[in-house]
Point group: C2
Chain length 549, copies 2
């Protein structure tokens, strides 16, 4: 049997995973892994935390060294070697040895492209002149930022872009003692979740001292980056700029080789992760995937998918055919003391895709309320009212947040319906959960909506109801209103409702609300059975108040 | 429409849940809830932590008071009222008002039995004379134990029984400054997990100062409980005894009413949770359920199932027919600094039920190793080698333990196979997990076994191999052996293996091991492809060493 010769472009998440699995499957294959940088197999996701000195040893970021990985896996690892061209006719790669400044060719049976994605850098006036502007992708970027912070001792920083990396950088720079401004073009940070959920995070990061500037972008950089002029005209003086408005697939090699590209220039692959040339596989941040929920083409650059795709590519290379069926975008981030996690489609996507959906907001405790340290988790789930399919879920809280999203991600993967969540038998003891886990609660509420036990209205509908002088009833205790309430609402505590029905008009719809939605639901049940038409504020005052605090 | 009259026996997990849901579904039903004790709806599961003063407010244990619940739910709640007889002919319950010492009858359309389970108290010599012996089920028990600890200031305690409650009590008494002995008849504590997994806990609780006495039981209590004589002849002097060797279903009412009983005297119900009398439902700790994994009749007394069954009973009472399909026994407990969680069948059950199974042990990190605070989670999974069905999983560790079991519980519920676990898209950021989550790892390993990429041997097979002078190869680095190794093994570090193949005999099976199983797997792949017959120690030295430290 002829030895297969496989060339891998990119030596980190996708590339190194492919190489490792491939060697396990085929001891005889010739495997060469090209990496243009100095490091392979490093912890991209840990970089912000090393800058923040949460991770203290730089070495900890190097999951594998070239020497270590070569010894373990017998792989020819070539760092400082950049692949500059794919010659598909000749089946060779053109490689530039950056250390020795020479170019050479390497023939292949198969190529695996895992070149990742690079930070987007639009031609904003003054951006090139900035002496204090950084993007963050790899170890050299990290070293540059860290040494700037260590040596130049900046007092202020502006982070441009409120995605995962921007928010993680804002947090870590605050850890380092900087006064941080976070500038975001959209009306919210953390795009994968929706506005009212992000509002909880807005409040939290402002509490932590971050100056949050939403719905504004950079117009120009002045004074070598010491001053930022925003679209609004606002000026920010800053010692340090982190520019992180997103990434774009590294598609140059693929493009030059006339491989098919898809949305946003991402490399097109079939379900076996083959590009339009069957000798060339591609994976990771550079490729186009199927959105697992809505089936559309998408770019979802995450480490979990990249690692798993690497294993699949290796399997396919040795003929153990395996499909990659899509990405659902399960993601989590630490945001100071809070955690945010999500899976699947949010309401913005659902709207854009014209999906039919119902929304649920709940705020259950992370674990039993009577055991110390329980905090509410704010959760949102979208599901298809007809098929009951779970479209996505989001959660924000202090503890146990990503656990619930992982459970829902598993449910989605397995094709469980929204109402099936009520039947999940999840582990319970007081330090960990409640006898009815938050995920069960989502299932209960979904079932109640499906069965018509309750109708809900949303936080963003309140304004119009107030304007129309609708009957809005607060069923919380009077004392709870001291911490905030919705204007123009009557207060009838739940315990008194059965005896005070006569105060409510039978002809109008009654809009009830409570703190989190449970008592509102109980009130809705009482009123409905007493012949009223009634709607309950989904997520209660807590969801409403997160936006309008 | 005639009002339905529903009498509920037992006012805590199952009973109160039934009542609450029932009221939401039917505003007109007449609902009477009988509870022989003073409290309804209390936090059974929190009781040990109140004794340990982790939960500081006694009030926190009372999830609902009779007054509060009456007001919210318009339910006739009768505490200190014990139901003493079911007259099925007349359709009345006989009730004893314990406060006023009078007996009365209450008629019903339906009865719901949720009487729970009571601590087993065998007639051990001297048990009745003990002045310091307690069982723990309810608030009065809790008050008695706590006041004994507060006032009598015992210095030593003996906990008899190493199940959930026994272990939680041991921990909480250590918190209170007592020197605790834990006596268990079996060779391990925490029955739901297997011996080698429990060994990790044995080591941990001994490190925490608990004197662990396994494979020994109480022969007699002497000196009013100041002295315990064990079967082995060993004597324990103790100031306080917690007796918690298990619970048995409270079946007296059902038995007297000639309702069908099942295993261990548990009340038999059909899938709608109806007893053999269709006017009488039963749920919670008192009933027999189907083991979700193996389909056998079982008693699985847990709060999650009790609460969910309550909701199902209420649904069925109003004609929203719903089935209860079985219990998989998802459970978790805090054991000092560690967490133990499990779902489904363990190896002991699998053996007893003659199930065909394969075993996997892994020890992945709770989150990315380069981010502070990561600890290994020791996991065990059983699956059917033929159908690939997941039979059960167990995990012990410091963090992220129950998250992984919840994900697997969800997978089991949805009918995912062991190998499907590799495709789960779980959330990842360094503080929370790894790009390949521990649950994915179980899927990878399962797939490798199924595809014959690797064969494994188990910790308990090592002895026989040593006796038979099998070739045992330690592929760890030399320095790792300083912290322990398996006797009579040769050491060839993985990095050297390819060059030292000639040292190994081709005719014999090579048994390799490393620290957790990964390098052993890599070694196995190298050796297999070099023409050797090879087996890898499942779970590596870490699983082996937990037993033989
Ligand atoms: C700061 C930061 C934090 C992150 N945090 C998270 C997180 O918490 N969770 C999460 O899921 N994801 C996170 N990610 C994303 C995650 O790191 C990526 O999804 C993942 O690394 C993608 O893998 P990849 O193999 O496609 O690309 P990469 O891991 O980026 O590897 C691509 C490599 O290819 C090399 N390369 C490119 N072109 C060539 C060429 N022509 N020749 C030779 N070499 C080449 C590059 O130098 C690069 O090293 C984070 C990313 C960053 C930058
Ligand atoms: C200390 C302790 C810790 C626990 N920890 C956990 C845990 O961490 N996780 C977990 O899942 N489970 C735990 N459990 C188990 C959990 O509490 C039970 O599974 C659950 O309470 C069962 O609900 P039930 O309604 O069947 O019984 P119970 O909640 O026990 O309620 C039964 C009630 O019925 C009353 N009653 C009985 N007979 C009559 C009668 N004839 N007339 C009137 N009233 C009557 C009893 O007084 C009792 O109050 C724990 C239990 C204990 C005791
Ligand atoms: C480390 C890296 C090279 C991948 O190496 P890898 O060997 O595939 O991955 P791991 O070390 O996690 O080991 C996984 C393998 O061990 C096996 N395994 C895990 N635990 C095992 C055990 N206890 N017993 C036997 N096998 C085990 C798995 O089955 C898997 O093998 P398989 O793919 O052949 O089935 C690659 O992931 C990498 O470069 N990571 C860093 C970069 C990165 O991912 N960045 C983004 C996140 S920060
Ligand atoms: C508290 C107790 C009486 C049950 O009351 P309950 O009202 O059924 O339960 P909860 O308060 O958790 O509320 C759940 C209900 O609120 C609904 N709900 C939850 N969050 C909601 C929200 N944000 N909006 C609308 N509805 C919501 C759920 O759908 C569910 O209603 P449903 O069953 O009609 O679908 C009972 O569980 C109990 O006695 N517990 C203590 C004893 C015990 O369980 N011991 C063992 C564990 S320690």
């Amino acid at each position: 049997m002829k030895k297969k010769k496989i060339l891998i472009v990119g030596g980190v998440a996708g590339g190194a995973s492919t190489a490792a699995r491939l060697r396990r499957l085929d001891e005889n294959a010739e495997i060469i892994m090209f990496e243009r940088g100095e490091h392979i197999s490093f912890a991209n996701c840990g970089l912000p935390y090393y800058i923040g000195e949460v991770i203290q040893q730089r070495d900890a970021l190097l999951v594998q060294t070239p020497e270590g990985m070569s010894a373990k896996f017998n792989i020819d690892i070539r760092v400082f070697n950049e692949v500059t061209k794919i010659d598909r006719e000749k089946k060779v790669l053109q490689v530039k040895d950056l250390k020795n400044n020479r170019t050479y060719e390497e023939s292949y049976d198969y190529v695996v492209l895992s070149p990742g994605a690079s930070p987007i850098m639009p031609p904003i006036p003054g951006i090139k002149e900035c002496k204090n502007l950084f993007t963050l992708r790899n170890i050299p970027d990290t070293d540059a930022i860290k040494s700037f912070v260590d040596n130049k001792k900046p007092k202020t920083a502006a982070v441009i872009g409120g995605g995962f990396i921007g928010v993680e950088m804002a947090e870590n720079l605050v850890h380092r003692g900087l006064k941080v401004s976070l500038v975001e073009m959209a009306d919210q940070i953390m795009g994968p979740i929706d506005y009212e959920m992000a509002s909880i995070l807005h409040n939290h990061i402002e509490d932590k001292g971050v100056q949050l500037i939403l719905e504004d972008g950079v117009k120009s950089f002045e004074k070598d980056g010491k001053e930022i002029i925003l679209q609004s005209g606002k000026k920010i003086n800053t010692d340090l700029i982190i520019f992180s408005i997103g990434v774009r697939p590294e598609n140059q090699l693929a493009k030059d080789a006339n491989l098919e590209l898809g949305v946003g220039g991402a490399i097109k692959v079939n379900e076996y992760l083959e590009t339009s040339d069957p000798s060339i596989y591609a994976l990771g941040d550079a490729i186009q995937v199927k959105d697992y929920i809505n089936g559309q083409d998408a770019i979802i650059p995450l480490a979990g998918p990249a690692n798993k795709q690497g294993r699949i590519v290796a399997n396919n290379l040795v003929g153990k055919k395996e499909k990659y069926v899509g990405t659902m975008g399960s993601a989590v981030a630490k945001v100071f003391d809070m955690t945010v996690a999500s899976v699947g489609n949010n309401e913005k996507i659902a709207k854009k895709q014209n999906l039919k959906y119902e929304v649920i907001h709940i705020h259950p405790g992370s674990h039993a309320g009577y055991y110390p340290g329980a905090f509410p988790i704010s959760m949102k789930m979208l599901f298809d009212p007809k098929t009951d399919k779970i479209l996505g879920a989001q959660a924000v809280g202090y503890d146990g947040v990503e656990k619930r999203i992982d459970v829902i991600a598993t449910a989605i993967k397995a094709g469980l319906k929204a109402t099936d969540l009520k039947d999940l038998e999840l582990t319970y003891a007081p330090p960990f959960s409640s006898a009815k886990d938050p995920v069960n609660m989502l299932g209960f509420v979904a079932e109640n909506m499906k069965h018509g036990l309750v109708e809900t209205f949303q936080w963003h509908e309140v304004k119009a109801l107030q304007d129309n002088k609708a009957v809005l009833v607060d069923v919380r205790e009077e004392i709870e209103r001291e911490l905030g309430f919705i204007e123009n609402t009557i207060n009838i505590p739940l315990g008194q409702l059965r005896n005070r029905l006569s105060e409510l008009p039978k002809k109008e719809t009654i809009y009830v609300y409570c703190q989190v939605g449970i008592r509102g639901y109980l009130a809705a049940r009482i009123l409905t059975q007493a012949g009223y038409k009634v709607k309950n504020l989904d997520g209660g005052y807590k969801t409403y108040g997160a936006v309008f605090r």
